[in-house]
Protein backbone atom coordinates (compact mmCIF):
# COMPACT_ATOMS: atom_id res chain seq x y z
CA UNK A 1 0.00 0.00 0.00
CA UNK A 2 1.11 3.53 -0.69
CA UNK A 3 2.24 5.92 2.02
CA UNK A 4 -0.95 7.98 1.95
CA UNK A 5 -3.42 8.77 4.72
CA UNK A 6 -6.28 7.34 2.64
CA UNK A 7 -4.82 3.84 2.32
CA UNK A 8 -3.81 3.84 5.98
CA UNK A 9 -7.38 4.65 6.89
CA UNK A 10 -8.79 1.95 4.60
CA UNK A 11 -6.47 -0.76 5.86
CA UNK A 12 -8.38 -1.20 9.11
CA UNK A 13 -11.59 -1.91 7.22
CA UNK A 14 -9.97 -4.33 4.80
CA UNK A 15 -8.42 -6.28 7.66
CA UNK A 16 -11.76 -6.52 9.40
CA UNK A 17 -13.64 -7.44 6.24
CA UNK A 18 -11.28 -10.17 5.04
CA UNK A 19 -10.75 -11.43 8.59
CA UNK A 20 -14.43 -12.32 8.69
CA UNK A 21 -13.86 -14.47 5.61
CA UNK A 22 -10.93 -16.22 7.29
CA UNK A 23 -8.46 -14.49 5.02
CA UNK A 24 -5.21 -13.28 6.50
CA UNK A 25 -4.21 -9.73 5.58
CA UNK A 26 -0.69 -8.40 5.81
CA UNK A 27 0.18 -4.89 4.76
CA UNK A 28 3.42 -3.62 3.28
CA UNK A 29 3.80 0.13 3.18
CA UNK A 30 5.77 1.37 0.19
CA UNK A 31 7.64 4.36 1.53
CA UNK A 32 7.92 7.24 -0.90
CA UNK A 33 4.81 6.19 -2.78
CA UNK A 34 2.82 9.31 -2.00
CA UNK A 35 1.61 12.59 -3.42
CA UNK A 36 5.05 14.17 -3.62
CA UNK A 37 6.20 13.95 -7.21
CA UNK A 38 9.90 13.91 -6.50
CA UNK A 39 9.77 11.21 -3.85
CA UNK A 40 7.33 9.16 -5.88
CA UNK A 41 9.71 9.05 -8.82
CA UNK A 42 12.99 8.78 -6.94
CA UNK A 43 12.29 6.45 -4.08
CA UNK A 44 8.65 5.35 -4.24
CA UNK A 45 8.73 3.29 -7.41
CA UNK A 46 12.17 1.85 -6.63
CA UNK A 47 10.91 0.85 -3.22
CA UNK A 48 7.80 -0.71 -4.78
CA UNK A 49 9.91 -2.85 -7.13
CA UNK A 50 12.18 -3.98 -4.28
CA UNK A 51 9.29 -4.87 -1.99
CA UNK A 52 7.37 -6.75 -4.65
CA UNK A 53 10.48 -8.68 -5.63
CA UNK A 54 11.05 -9.64 -1.99
CA UNK A 55 7.50 -10.92 -1.62
CA UNK A 56 7.62 -12.90 -4.87
CA UNK A 57 11.04 -14.36 -4.02
CA UNK A 58 9.91 -15.27 -0.53
CA UNK A 59 7.35 -17.68 -1.97
CA UNK A 60 9.52 -18.96 -4.80
CA UNK A 61 10.02 -22.74 -4.73
CA UNK A 62 7.25 -23.16 -2.16
CA UNK A 63 3.84 -24.68 -2.65
CA UNK A 64 2.29 -21.23 -2.41
CA UNK A 65 1.18 -19.54 -5.58
CA UNK A 66 1.61 -15.80 -5.76
CA UNK A 67 -0.69 -13.74 -7.98
CA UNK A 68 -0.82 -10.01 -8.55
CA UNK A 69 -3.99 -7.95 -8.35
CA UNK A 70 -3.34 -4.56 -9.95
CA UNK A 71 -6.83 -3.12 -9.61
CA UNK A 72 -6.15 -0.29 -7.16
CA UNK A 73 -3.45 2.28 -6.61
CA UNK A 74 -1.54 4.88 -8.58
CA UNK A 75 -1.38 4.25 -12.32
CA UNK A 76 2.42 4.19 -12.31
CA UNK A 77 2.32 1.78 -9.36
CA UNK A 78 0.08 -0.68 -11.19
CA UNK A 79 2.15 -0.34 -14.39
CA UNK A 80 5.37 -1.29 -12.60
CA UNK A 81 3.68 -4.06 -10.65
CA UNK A 82 2.36 -5.49 -13.93
CA UNK A 83 5.72 -5.41 -15.71
CA UNK A 84 7.49 -6.93 -12.74
CA UNK A 85 4.89 -9.68 -12.46
CA UNK A 86 5.17 -10.43 -16.16
CA UNK A 87 8.93 -10.67 -15.97
CA UNK A 88 8.64 -13.03 -13.02
CA UNK A 89 5.82 -14.99 -14.63
CA UNK A 90 3.35 -14.19 -11.88
CA UNK A 91 -0.29 -14.15 -12.96
CA UNK A 92 -1.78 -10.66 -13.13
CA UNK A 93 -5.45 -9.85 -12.50
CA UNK A 94 -7.31 -6.64 -13.03
CA UNK A 95 -10.85 -5.43 -12.69
CA UNK A 96 -12.39 -2.40 -14.28
CA UNK A 97 -15.62 -1.06 -12.92
CA UNK A 98 -17.52 -1.34 -16.18
CA UNK A 99 -16.41 -5.00 -16.66
CA UNK A 100 -17.25 -5.84 -13.07
CA UNK A 101 -15.53 -9.10 -13.78
CA UNK A 102 -12.00 -10.13 -13.11
CA UNK A 103 -9.71 -10.21 -16.12
CA UNK A 104 -6.44 -12.10 -16.25
CA UNK A 105 -3.92 -10.20 -18.29
CA UNK A 106 -2.29 -12.47 -20.84
CA UNK A 107 1.44 -13.01 -20.61
CA UNK A 108 3.47 -10.76 -22.83
CA UNK A 109 6.49 -12.31 -24.54
CA UNK A 110 8.80 -10.67 -22.02
CA UNK A 111 11.88 -12.39 -20.71
CA UNK A 112 15.47 -11.51 -19.99
CA UNK A 113 18.38 -12.88 -21.96
CA UNK A 114 20.29 -13.90 -18.88
CA UNK A 115 23.35 -15.08 -20.79
CA UNK A 116 23.60 -11.70 -22.51
CA UNK A 117 23.10 -9.52 -19.44
CA UNK A 118 25.45 -11.69 -17.44
CA UNK A 119 28.31 -9.79 -19.11
CA UNK A 120 27.00 -6.50 -17.69
CA UNK A 121 26.17 -7.53 -14.17
CA UNK A 122 29.02 -5.38 -12.84
CA UNK A 123 27.35 -2.29 -14.31
CA UNK A 124 24.09 -2.99 -12.51
CA UNK A 125 26.00 -3.47 -9.27
CA UNK A 126 27.85 -0.16 -9.74
CA UNK A 127 24.78 1.88 -10.59
CA UNK A 128 22.82 0.24 -7.81
CA UNK A 129 25.32 1.76 -5.37
CA UNK A 130 25.65 5.04 -7.27
CA UNK A 131 28.09 6.38 -9.87
CA UNK A 132 29.43 9.92 -9.99
CA UNK A 133 28.73 12.11 -12.99
CA UNK A 134 32.38 12.06 -14.06
CA UNK A 135 32.57 8.29 -14.19
CA UNK A 136 29.14 7.76 -15.71
CA UNK A 137 30.08 8.34 -19.36
CA UNK A 138 33.14 6.12 -19.21
CA UNK A 139 30.93 3.28 -18.00
CA UNK A 140 28.10 3.94 -20.43
CA UNK A 141 30.32 3.82 -23.52
CA UNK A 142 31.11 0.19 -22.68
CA UNK A 143 27.50 -0.80 -22.11
CA UNK A 144 24.60 -1.54 -24.48
CA UNK A 145 22.96 1.69 -25.63
CA UNK A 146 19.68 0.93 -23.85
CA UNK A 147 21.37 0.94 -20.46
CA UNK A 148 21.19 4.74 -20.31
CA UNK A 149 17.40 4.47 -20.03
CA UNK A 150 17.78 2.46 -16.84
CA UNK A 151 19.53 5.14 -14.78
CA UNK A 152 18.73 8.56 -13.33
CA UNK A 153 20.62 11.37 -11.62
CA UNK A 154 19.77 11.83 -7.96
CA UNK A 155 20.33 15.57 -7.46
CA UNK A 156 20.68 15.24 -3.69
CA UNK A 157 23.54 12.77 -3.84
CA UNK A 158 24.84 14.00 -7.21
CA UNK A 159 25.14 10.40 -8.35
CA UNK A 160 23.56 8.21 -10.99
CA UNK A 161 21.47 5.30 -9.77
CA UNK A 162 19.29 2.64 -11.33
CA UNK A 163 15.85 4.11 -11.93
CA UNK A 164 12.70 2.05 -11.18
CA UNK A 165 12.92 0.40 -14.60
CA UNK A 166 16.60 -0.40 -13.99
CA UNK A 167 15.78 -1.76 -10.55
CA UNK A 168 13.01 -3.92 -12.05
CA UNK A 169 15.42 -5.17 -14.66
CA UNK A 170 18.28 -5.81 -12.22
CA UNK A 171 16.24 -7.63 -9.58
CA UNK A 172 14.51 -9.73 -12.23
CA UNK A 173 17.88 -10.56 -13.74
CA UNK A 174 19.27 -11.67 -10.36
CA UNK A 175 16.30 -13.93 -9.74
CA UNK A 176 16.40 -15.36 -13.24
CA UNK A 177 20.12 -15.91 -13.04
CA UNK A 178 19.67 -17.98 -9.92
CA UNK A 179 17.12 -20.15 -11.67
CA UNK A 180 18.56 -20.30 -15.13
CA UNK A 181 22.31 -20.40 -15.04
CA UNK A 182 24.29 -23.37 -13.93
CA UNK A 183 27.60 -24.90 -14.85
CA UNK A 184 27.10 -27.57 -17.43
CA UNK A 185 27.76 -31.08 -16.25
CA UNK A 186 28.42 -33.21 -19.34
CA UNK A 187 27.27 -36.32 -17.49
CA UNK A 188 23.75 -35.05 -17.33
CA UNK A 189 23.20 -36.37 -20.84
CA UNK A 190 23.04 -40.13 -20.90
CA UNK A 191 21.22 -43.16 -22.23
CA UNK A 192 19.88 -46.07 -20.27
CA UNK A 193 21.76 -49.35 -20.27
CA UNK A 194 21.06 -51.63 -23.21
CA UNK A 195 19.20 -48.93 -25.12
CA UNK A 196 20.42 -47.87 -28.50
CA UNK A 197 20.39 -44.35 -29.84
CA UNK A 198 20.30 -42.79 -33.26
CA UNK A 199 24.07 -42.34 -33.23
CA UNK A 200 24.72 -45.96 -32.22
CA UNK A 201 23.19 -46.93 -35.51
CA UNK A 202 24.33 -44.16 -37.84
CA UNK A 203 27.85 -43.53 -36.58
CA UNK A 204 28.55 -46.41 -34.22
CA UNK A 205 29.03 -43.91 -31.39
CA UNK A 206 27.93 -44.74 -27.85
CA UNK A 207 26.52 -41.81 -25.91
CA UNK A 208 27.49 -41.68 -22.27
CA UNK A 209 27.87 -37.93 -21.83
CA UNK A 210 27.13 -34.73 -23.75
CA UNK A 211 30.64 -34.74 -25.24
CA UNK A 212 29.94 -38.05 -26.99
CA UNK A 213 27.21 -36.57 -29.19
CA UNK A 214 28.83 -36.33 -32.63
CA UNK A 215 26.53 -33.63 -34.02
CA UNK A 216 27.76 -30.14 -33.04
CA UNK A 217 24.37 -28.48 -33.55
CA UNK A 218 22.55 -31.01 -31.40
CA UNK A 219 25.22 -30.64 -28.76
CA UNK A 220 24.76 -26.87 -28.80
CA UNK A 221 21.00 -27.08 -28.23
CA UNK A 222 21.39 -29.60 -25.43
CA UNK A 223 24.03 -27.40 -23.77
CA UNK A 224 21.47 -24.63 -23.69
CA UNK A 225 18.89 -26.92 -22.10
CA UNK A 226 21.38 -27.97 -19.43
CA UNK A 227 22.03 -24.34 -18.48
CA UNK A 228 18.70 -24.20 -16.67
CA UNK A 229 19.34 -25.14 -13.08
CA UNK A 230 15.95 -26.82 -12.81
CA UNK A 231 16.98 -29.37 -15.49
CA UNK A 232 18.23 -32.49 -13.73
CA UNK A 233 19.27 -34.58 -16.71
CA UNK A 234 18.56 -35.45 -20.33
CA UNK A 235 17.79 -39.04 -21.04
CA UNK A 236 18.12 -40.40 -24.57
CA UNK A 237 15.27 -42.83 -24.89
CA UNK A 238 15.00 -45.84 -27.10
CA UNK A 239 12.77 -44.28 -29.74
CA UNK A 240 14.69 -43.07 -32.79
CA UNK A 241 14.41 -43.12 -36.57
CA UNK A 242 17.37 -43.22 -38.89
CA UNK A 243 17.51 -41.02 -41.96
CA UNK A 244 14.21 -39.23 -41.62
CA UNK A 245 15.76 -35.84 -40.83
CA UNK A 246 15.54 -33.11 -43.47
CA UNK A 247 18.90 -31.58 -42.79
CA UNK A 248 17.58 -29.03 -40.32
CA UNK A 249 18.50 -29.37 -36.66
CA UNK A 250 15.92 -28.56 -34.00
CA UNK A 251 14.10 -29.88 -30.95
CA UNK A 252 10.37 -30.36 -31.20
CA UNK A 253 8.08 -30.54 -28.19
CA UNK A 254 6.20 -33.84 -27.81
CA UNK A 255 4.58 -33.93 -24.37
CA UNK A 256 5.08 -33.20 -20.71
CA UNK A 257 4.65 -35.63 -17.84
CA UNK A 258 4.05 -34.28 -14.37
CA UNK A 259 1.85 -36.95 -12.83
CA UNK A 260 4.64 -39.42 -12.14
CA UNK A 261 7.41 -39.39 -9.52
CA UNK A 262 9.75 -37.93 -12.14
CA UNK A 263 8.60 -34.81 -13.92
CA UNK A 264 9.88 -34.56 -17.47
CA UNK A 265 9.26 -32.99 -20.84
CA UNK A 266 9.72 -35.06 -23.96
CA UNK A 267 11.24 -33.44 -27.01
CA UNK A 268 12.30 -34.95 -30.30
CA UNK A 269 15.69 -34.14 -31.78
CA UNK A 270 15.59 -33.68 -35.55
CA UNK A 271 19.01 -33.66 -37.19
CA UNK A 272 20.89 -34.80 -40.29
CA UNK A 273 21.12 -38.38 -39.02
CA UNK A 274 17.44 -38.70 -38.23
CA UNK A 275 15.19 -38.37 -35.22
CA UNK A 276 15.88 -39.13 -31.56
CA UNK A 277 13.52 -38.75 -28.61
CA UNK A 278 14.78 -37.31 -25.34
CA UNK A 279 13.25 -36.91 -21.90
CA UNK A 280 14.32 -33.74 -20.13
CA UNK A 281 13.95 -34.45 -16.44
CA UNK A 282 13.23 -31.34 -14.38
CA UNK A 283 12.62 -30.40 -10.77
CA UNK A 284 9.07 -31.08 -9.69
CA UNK A 285 6.65 -28.51 -11.09
CA UNK A 286 9.04 -27.11 -13.68
CA UNK A 287 7.65 -28.73 -16.85
CA UNK A 288 5.69 -25.64 -17.87
CA UNK A 289 8.63 -23.41 -17.07
CA UNK A 290 10.89 -25.40 -19.36
CA UNK A 291 8.43 -25.25 -22.24
CA UNK A 292 7.92 -21.53 -21.61
CA UNK A 293 11.65 -20.83 -21.71
CA UNK A 294 12.55 -23.09 -24.60
CA UNK A 295 9.44 -22.88 -26.73
CA UNK A 296 7.95 -25.79 -28.65
CA UNK A 297 10.51 -25.68 -31.43
CA UNK A 298 14.11 -24.99 -30.52
CA UNK A 299 16.88 -24.20 -32.97
CA UNK A 300 20.62 -24.16 -32.21
Amino acid sequence: MSETPETRKELLYFKQFFGEFGIQVKETIIYGLKYTENQFKLSGLRSLVTQLTEIIDHYKNTSTEVVMNVTGGFKAETAYATVLAQLRRVRVFYIYETFNEIVELPYLPLSLDVDYWNHYEYAFELFDKGVTNEKKESFLCRLPHGFRYLIFLDPLEAKWFLNPAGETFYLSYLSEKEVYLQTIDQKKVFKKNRETTLWDKTRNVHINTLTDIPDAKVKSVLRRVLKFSFVKKIELVDYHRVGSGRGETYLKFKRKVSNQPSHYVQYQIHCVDGVQNINILVERGFCDELVFMLGKKVYP
Binding site: M1, S2, T4, P5, E6, T7, K9, E10, L11, Y13, F14, F17, F18, I23, Q24, V25, K26, E27, T28, L52, I55, I56, Y59, T62, S63, T64, E65, V66, V67, M68, N69, V70, T71, G72, G73, F74, E77, T78, A81, F93, Y94, I95, E97, N100, E101, I102
Partner: protein, 82 residues
Protein backbone atom coordinates in the same frame (compact mmCIF):
# COMPACT_ATOMS: atom_id res chain seq x y z
CA UNK B 1 -1.56 -25.26 -1.63
CA UNK B 2 -1.67 -21.68 -0.39
CA UNK B 3 -2.39 -18.62 -2.43
CA UNK B 4 -0.97 -15.19 -1.85
CA UNK B 5 -2.62 -12.28 -3.57
CA UNK B 6 -0.55 -9.15 -3.76
CA UNK B 7 -3.02 -6.31 -4.15
CA UNK B 8 -2.12 -2.73 -4.90
CA UNK B 9 -4.36 -0.42 -2.93
CA UNK B 10 -6.17 2.72 -4.01
CA UNK B 11 -8.84 4.89 -2.47
CA UNK B 12 -11.83 3.07 -3.88
CA UNK B 13 -13.44 2.31 -0.52
CA UNK B 14 -13.39 5.90 0.67
CA UNK B 15 -14.44 7.19 -2.76
CA UNK B 16 -17.41 4.82 -2.82
CA UNK B 17 -18.48 5.88 0.68
CA UNK B 18 -18.19 9.51 -0.35
CA UNK B 19 -20.20 8.88 -3.52
CA UNK B 20 -22.90 7.02 -1.60
CA UNK B 21 -23.16 10.06 0.67
CA UNK B 22 -23.49 12.43 -2.28
CA UNK B 23 -19.93 13.69 -1.89
CA UNK B 24 -20.73 15.45 1.35
CA UNK B 25 -17.20 14.87 2.64
CA UNK B 26 -15.62 16.77 -0.24
CA UNK B 27 -12.14 15.94 -1.46
CA UNK B 28 -10.49 15.04 1.82
CA UNK B 29 -11.53 11.43 2.10
CA UNK B 30 -9.68 10.95 5.36
CA UNK B 31 -12.32 13.12 7.06
CA UNK B 32 -15.05 10.54 6.54
CA UNK B 33 -16.10 9.43 10.02
CA UNK B 34 -15.59 5.85 11.09
CA UNK B 35 -19.27 5.17 11.68
CA UNK B 36 -20.18 6.27 8.13
CA UNK B 37 -17.70 3.81 6.59
CA UNK B 38 -18.79 1.02 8.93
CA UNK B 39 -22.43 1.65 8.16
CA UNK B 40 -21.75 1.65 4.41
CA UNK B 41 -19.95 -1.69 4.60
CA UNK B 42 -22.55 -3.19 6.89
CA UNK B 43 -25.34 -2.17 4.53
CA UNK B 44 -23.58 -3.61 1.48
CA UNK B 45 -22.98 -6.88 3.26
CA UNK B 46 -26.59 -7.02 4.37
CA UNK B 47 -27.67 -6.54 0.75
CA UNK B 48 -25.13 -9.19 -0.35
CA UNK B 49 -23.45 -6.57 -2.53
CA UNK B 50 -19.96 -6.84 -1.12
CA UNK B 51 -18.53 -6.26 -4.57
CA UNK B 52 -19.78 -2.68 -4.36
CA UNK B 53 -17.73 -1.90 -1.27
CA UNK B 54 -14.45 -1.33 -3.09
CA UNK B 55 -12.63 -2.36 -6.23
CA UNK B 56 -9.96 -4.09 -4.14
CA UNK B 57 -12.53 -6.17 -2.28
CA UNK B 58 -14.44 -6.96 -5.44
CA UNK B 59 -11.34 -8.05 -7.36
CA UNK B 60 -9.84 -9.99 -4.47
CA UNK B 61 -13.04 -11.95 -3.85
CA UNK B 62 -13.32 -12.72 -7.55
CA UNK B 63 -9.69 -13.86 -7.75
CA UNK B 64 -10.15 -16.12 -4.73
CA UNK B 65 -13.25 -17.62 -6.30
CA UNK B 66 -11.52 -18.14 -9.63
CA UNK B 67 -8.43 -19.74 -8.11
CA UNK B 68 -10.53 -21.94 -5.87
CA UNK B 69 -12.46 -23.14 -8.88
CA UNK B 70 -9.22 -23.82 -10.72
CA UNK B 71 -7.39 -25.56 -7.94
CA UNK B 72 -10.26 -26.81 -5.87
CA UNK B 73 -8.43 -25.72 -2.76
CA UNK B 74 -11.22 -24.34 -0.69
CA UNK B 75 -9.32 -25.14 2.52
CA UNK B 76 -5.91 -24.21 3.84
CA UNK B 77 -5.51 -21.08 1.78
CA UNK B 78 -3.74 -18.07 3.09
CA UNK B 79 -3.91 -14.72 1.39
CA UNK B 80 -1.44 -11.93 1.30
CA UNK B 81 -2.97 -8.55 0.84
CA UNK B 82 -0.89 -5.45 0.30
Amino acid sequence: MGINIITTMGTSLLSNVNRANRFEFGKDLTQIPHHVISEFMKQKRKEKREYEISAEINSTLQIIEKLRREKKTSKNNSFYFE
